[in-house]
């Protein structure tokens, strides 16, 4: 968590103070350093839930349901950050807070999927279930990930196309360089939040098991 905090602070300070404004967007381009990592983590979180769901349904790994439930709040938070920062960025850039554009709408759907997953997984846990319904929901919800990714190609509306890819980026290096810092930093913070939730879930399960044993004695 400390490494994540250090990298995030370094990236944010660099993004706010050390990079030049964009020739077209001006100072608002600085929102990039928090918007892009939150979009990545919102999607990566659901990828994690899908992987945990497969692990639970196929191999019945005992920690898979715990991992899925632990990832969901962090994923929902970063999806919300992505939506809010994107909306704030959109106002001075596009002249609107919101547009029912393919990328924006599919990201909003992802946020609602997270809320549904959290509600379903906690309801299933309270009823003593093994979390299989939530796992199936987690897998089905993963259909939205390629929709989010390719939305800027399928529906060319308001959101810009892909500017950062595996092979390179169309963004100038003088603006791009703090982005890896915030990407890695926020990812470490996401990991720390997930691990802390897993520890909490495991401790809660221990307490519940102990209380049940004490009730039987």
């Amino acid at each position: 968590m400390l490494i994540g905090l250090a990298l995030t602070v370094a990236g944010v300070v660099a993004g706010l103070a050390l990079t030049p404004p964009d020739y077209l967007q001006g100072e608002t381009v600085r929102i990039l350093y928090i918007h892009v990592p939150s979009a990545w983590l919102g999607m990566a979180g659901w990828l994690g839930i899908a992987a945990a769901s497969i692990s639970q349904l196929v191999w019945r790994h005992p920690l898979a349901a715990v991992a899925g439930r632990a990832i969901a709040p962090a994923g929902a938070t970063f999806a919300a950050i992505c939506l809010v920062t994107g909306s704030i960025w959109g106002r001075p850039t596009w002249g609107t807070w919101w547009e029912w554009d393919g990328r924006l709408t599919s990201m909003l759907v992802l946020f609602f999927l997270y809320l549904g997953y959290i509600a379903l997984a906690s309801a299933e846990r309270e009823r003593g279930g093994e979390g299989q319904i939530a796992a199936i929901y987690g897998l089905v919800g993963a259909i939205n990930l390629p929709i989010i990714h390719y939305s800027v190609l399928w529906w060319r509306t308001l959101h810009q196309g892909e500017s950062i890819g595996i092979t390179g980026s169309s963004i100038d290096r003088s603006i791009l360089w703090p982005l890896p810092l915030t990407m890695i930093g926020f990812t470490c913070l996401f990991g720390a939040a997930t691990l802390m939730r897993m520890r909490a879930e495991l401790a809660e399960a221990k307490v519940e098991a102990r209380m049940r044993r004490m009730g039987r004695e």
Binding site: I34, V84, L189, M196
Partner: protein, 42 residues
């Protein structure tokens, strides 16, 4: 249009939500582990 209020608002929301997430996960972990310790002592 002055861009800085938008930049500050975006960073404010991102930092506030991230700090809230980390605090909530940390506090819930501490609370749950304290409950385990309390049960062990009984």
């Amino acid at each position: 249009m002055n861009p800085w209020p938008f930049v500050v608002a975006a960073y404010g929301v991102a930092i506030a939500l991230t700090v809230a997430l980390l605090l909530w996960t940390f506090m819930s972990m501490r609370r749950a582990e304290a409950a385990v310790d309390a049960l062990k002592r009984q």
